[in-house]
Amino acid sequence: MSRHDEVHDWRGEVAPGDEDGGEGGIGSGVRGYLIGFALSVLLTVASFGIVGT
């Protein structure tokens, strides 16, 4: 870790795609991923369904 990291307060700055910026803990993270997974399954099944009809 650089000297800058130790001296300054970096809270509120997150990297692109960073997970640590979210607030609410693990429960909220798991819920977010579950919702994303369910939506992706729904959209994928719908895509295959449209081709099948």
Partner: protein, 216 residues
Amino acid sequence: MSAAAPAAAHDPHRLGHHGAGPHPGDHGPSPKRIIVGYGFWIFLLSDFVLFSGFFAAYAVLAGATAGGPSGRQLFDLHSVAIETACLLLSSYTCGMASLAVAARSQLWTQLSLIATGLFGLGFLGFEIKEFVGLIEQGDGPQRSAFLSSFFTLVGCHGLHISVGLLWLGTNMAQIFTKGFTGNMIRRFMCFSLFWHALDIIWIAIFTVVYLIGDGR
């Protein structure tokens, strides 16, 4: 009312450098985590450009079957559905690994990454089976321009998955032996971005190549 109030109204995010108090950019370079993440996104975007070229080639050559079979005759959508399920599940378990890393849980990190790797291997197995089947029946990349572009595009994605699996194994071993050091966490963040990006590319492949190809 202070003199800073009118300035804040004109420049609420203090983007100008005339106001009082700290603002972004004042405290030197950002932490390594942000710089590494930003740099890796630039790599991912360059990878997307590479795939864009292959997608464009496929779109142009999809009809150039040279009297050979088209996608409709070759593709097995059941196998593609299983491959898609494997990748979606592996992306989900990779997300769980991100949460486990954030919680600094060695056990859950390793378990989530093992699941990610197994789903990735499952995907790769089905893809190799499809490629071997096509080549055995004489529909290899040399058969037509359509099949050349198909093998290039889908094979390039499969190659990325193979490299990703090697990276995953290395990452697991390093996290296991060295623990959650700053370096390891940044490397895992890059792997996680890479793996999710491959999932996004697969969504485009199964839509453009398999679903649209099956309807041709």
